[in-house]
Symmetry: C2
Subunit: 177 residues, 2 copies
């Protein structure tokens, strides 16, 4: 058995789940904005520090980390959908989340055969490479969860009522025998 099935679970199934959870954060934010009579754009532009990304940019970056993480691990960089980072509204950022979830669902487990050993690069690395396993473990996973968690933190700090269940989503518990 190669690591392909576990890599698929980590970057396809689980990232699609977390992007759906991020959509659920936005549902709660939308309810909060309606109740408090604040413009949703205020929340989408909120940030925790002046030199940190806004909520909107955190979501864009979570999307790109998932999309390009899966694409690069599978050696399929060229077919990842392009997003122009021009979203301004809730509807636009939800469309991006949906687009990335749909893209992820196009990867079968065997797309990641040999992914752990593949040499991976990206434009800003100036030709340097990581192994697929290093890229997955030390780059894609910590970055992806960084942006999802920071989106959560921005909303919690602004008073939106999110809990750990919304962050983690449902877990496939099996009842005791």
């Amino acid at each position: 058995m190669s690591h392909a099935p576990l890599i698929h679970a980590l970057v396809v199934t689980q990232f699609a789940k977390m992007l759906a959870n991020l959509g659920a954060f936005l549902d709660e934010a939308e309810k909060f904005a309606a109740e408090k009579k604040v413009d949703m754009a205020v929340l989408l532009q909120a940030r925790l520090a002046p030199d940190q990304f806004s909520l909107m940019q955190q979501i864009r970056t979570a999307c790109d980390t998932a999309k390009l993480g899966a694409a690069r691990l599978a050696g399929r960089d060229a077919d990842a959908p392009v997003h122009a980072d021009t979203e301004q509204t809730l509807a636009e950022i939800r469309a991006r989340l949906d687009s990335v979830v749909a893209y992820l669902k196009g990867f079968a487990p065997d797309a990641f055969a040999g992914a752990a050993e593949r040499r991976i690069t990206q434009p800003r690395w100036a030709g340097k490479t990581l192994s697929g396993q290093e890229f997955l473990v030390e780059h894609v996973l910590p970055n992806f969860y960084f942006h999802v968690t920071t989106a959560y933190a921005i909303l919690r700090h602004n008073g939106v009522g999110l809990g750990k269940k919304t962050y983690l989503g449902d877990l496939p518990y099996r009842a005791a025998a």
Copy 2:
């Protein structure tokens, strides 16, 4: 090949690295506190929302998620070190980080043979179980990065100068051939 080597990389090598990075956040926080003449305890008790964990509790929980994640995946719950959640000072929480890093380093890759298929439970699940793979992918990883990232967010929000490099740590780039 079983998934044991990849699981080891995810929860031993990488979690130990991230806990060291969390130590580096604290180094920066300590410098910041000295410069601004604020008591370090103010930062350790800071939180982003009144009903969210403080920085201190985020670090404790990151430690426990790493420690118990590795222990349960390896079927060795009984030998995880116990921490009483009584840390108040920087020295005490650094000692906890060091203790968990040392504990993690005691796991060899083959400790995770069969881990993906093992049925895992914990006290609050009332006897219900997840497979090892579900526990790793849907519980341990998102929770661990949640607490490390929230610690980072609390410090950034308070003005401590952290960057993505401190969060990710060094990456093992290989130069282009």
